[in-house]
Symmetry: C2
Subunit: 251 residues, 2 copies
DNA sequence: CGTGCGTTTGATGGCAATCAATTTATGTGG
DNA sequence: CCACATAAATTGATTGCCATCAAACGCACG
């Protein structure tokens, strides 16, 4: 069984046979990913159900809205975006997924994926068949609890976004996203102040309920205020405190 | 052990000792609530862990943001709203909960409730201690799956709201909410075309990212277009097809 | 070097927020 | 039960933020 990759309209898949020997035990993300809070022999069992396959190329889909739901996925490297398509053809980006994060959980309720997921850059993925995960969860209380927590976190993050979209200005939304990315980098022991945005301005705007032009203007403004240094996709946070006060967030 | 009811600032609780003999087996909501998909002896076990206590009065809190998380809750009668408070004091309503629906799942991730929940009218609640639910879930695959599905549905509904807030006009948002309430009424075998809104205009606007004035104007407009009949909180959907086309939703 | 895409910047307009005032519901004490 | 007080909802006038329209710029690529 391999990762289900929708191929219509996607770039051809380049075979790649190295670097498949990763396992949960030696993965450097196991402190923030699913294996967190498992004993080493439990990790082995989890590892046994996880499928790894060739990396996704940029713009390839991991799954599409409406696809039969079979697995959730962990990002090992690269970044993905999840998005829904409204029936008048517009897109709504519902989330970005960085290494160590889990996606696909919105497919559980209807046995069909409620959103599409595509790679923003080359990405390595761990596939976790859901029936196996359910079976293991029933046997390993820690795993069950951890997965409940992951789903709950997805809910709280979506609610955070709801609040952002409903209550905050364009400046605040962009600032909040920069802080979120910064924090997630820090969790992976990367720089919290300097990073490269994996997504386009269009995606940022779409996620934040803004147009590209507005996003661009906000970046310009922040640069003029010396809060951020923006060089295309390269971001440097010059004034973290200023950025936080600009974000003006709850919690 | 009783329901944890925060009482500061709330109306005094009137004791009420009748009507506590409901159980999951005879509850008329068991076709849409947690017991769904359980065998009758499994239902008995679920019933044993569920706590029922005196009804919540209007404006009383079921739990508050930051409270220690201990249980999820099912609504047996009445309506609740969930909301977050931003640190500059504003509220964001994140959901309305009708009979048969489950709330409180956003508290799992941090062992603390991520939002507050208060009754919009007198409400009867079933409390489901989470540790017991976890234990039972490990023993009953159907229950585990059903609860995963409930959480997943919460995620997809939040994503629906995200899309609504990000992409739709005031008219579309209000239309979508009316359709949502209509559908949820239908699920409970109530009228899909005639109902009483349990929440105020302020709450509606807050939930939809609009001001009270805008909500009121939209209702007036819809009434003028003969799509809705609005008499304060009494709503009649005169033209369901028109309302749907007005909502202009994805999926 | 031209083509195309992503990004930036500028000018204008529209939708919903804000401010303000009135009307209608709700609730309370005499 | 009515008079009063308070809260909720409606309607109107004006403002402001961000979308839209338009054009130029930079960069990657063939």
């Amino acid at each position: 069984m391999t990762i289900h990759i929708a191929q219509q309209g996607d770039a051809a898949v380049k075979p790649c046979n190295h670097d498949y020997q990763v396992n949960c035990g030696n993965c450097r993300l196991n402190g923030i990913c699913l294996p967190l809070a498992l004993e080493s022999d439990d990790i082995q069992q989890l590892d046994d159900i996880i499928q790894r396959s060739k990396p996704l190329q940029k713009n390839q889909h991991l799954y599409r809205e409406g696809d039969h739901f079979q697995s959730v996925f962990a990002v090992r490297s690269g970044t993905l975006k999840a998005y829904k398509t409204t029936d008048d053809g517009r897109e709504q980006v519902t989330g970005f997924y960085f290494p160590g994060e889990i996606l696909g959980m919105d497919g559980i309720s209807n046995n069909a994926h409620a959103s599409s997921a595509k790679a923003l850059e080359t990405a390595a993925i761990c596939e976790i068949p859901f029936v196996s995960l359910e079976r293991l969860s029933a046997l390993m209380p820690n795993l069950q609890r951890h997965f409940f927590q992951l789903m709950s976190r997805e809910i709280t993050e979506d609610q955070q976004l709801i609040t952002l979209l409903s209550k905050n200005s364009a400046d605040e939304r962009v600032a909040a996203l920069m802080l979120s990315i910064s924090g997630r980098n820090a969790r992976r022991k990367l720089s919290a102040t300097q990073f490269r945005l994996p997504m386009s301005r269009v995606d940022i705007g779409n996620y934040l309920g803004l147009t590209v032009e507005t996003v661009s203007r906000v970046f310009s403004r922040m640069q003029k205020m010396a809060v951020l240094r923006v060089d295309n996709k390269e971001i440097e946070i010059l004034d973290p405190a200023g950025l936080r006060s600009m974000a003006n967030l709850g919690s």
